[in-house]
Symmetry: C2
Subunit: 111 residues, 2 copies
DNA sequence: TCCTTATATTACATATATTTTATATAAATC
DNA sequence: GATTTATATAAAATATATGTAATATAAGGA
């Protein structure tokens, strides 16, 4: 699934750093690889993973392949997390309601 | 790192389903395992991963180990994604500014 | 055309993840 | 105390991920 690949892509610190770099603007593979202690093929693989996850896009520009963030790529992740938090919060609100009722009952019981 | 473990935890569909179930309220290991086609030890391991990632917490209640979501667990992930989106947006805004300037210059050039 | 630059791909080694079966532990119940 | 119930752990198989070194490809420039 797409969520699988996207979350898995974010689980690697090198890939998160690549995304953080790309958030500042487009960059070529070499530019992206330069700050890291890994080889160029390793970066190429990471970029492939990020592309497969829909998190980046690439152009062809002569012999270069500039990468940029795919702004829509984060949306499914954010949506999933937001929904989780929403149902969690709804449940807690319900619990709060129950607790409030119990407290009220106690008050009624012995004022 | 914590982000590594949390994102990796979310990369598995079974674990995401466990979290979705827990968003509705506390549940024991058996209750959590019941809907799935995997064995109980597999679920125990998944829960261990989720706990290691700070996404769930567990109580001891006799022979049962009820699990519940750890509300704070999602925060680092949300923060990371929000920051990425923020710097991405900031950059796009800047680009928009540059484009606006270029457009303006063009206008000035040939009105 | 030859050389260089930018990137991808392959082959391979190593490490990590996922699952199952079998077994251990410890509380609950009879 | 023996048995059942709920869960954890260990061992082993398989799969997947990550990295490197070597090589391929293809565009650009001398």
């Amino acid at each position: 699934m797409q969520l699988d690949m996207a979350f898995a892509a974010l689980a690697d610190p090198t890939r998160r750093a690549l995304l953080a770099r790309l958030a500042l603007g487009e960059a070529t593979v070499m530019e992206l690889a330069q700050p890291f202690a890994v080889t160029q093929p390793a970066i190429s693989r990471h970029l492939k993973v990020l592309e497969g996850a829909g998190l980046i896009e690439r152009r062809v520009e002569g012999t270069k392949r500039p990468c940029r963030l795919s702004p829509a790529g984060l949306a499914p992740l954010e949506a999933w997390m937001e929904q989780l938090r929403r149902s969690m919060t709804a449940n807690y609100d319900r619990l709060d309601g129950v607790l409030a009722e119990m407290t009220q009952a106690k008050k009624d019981d012995m004022p």
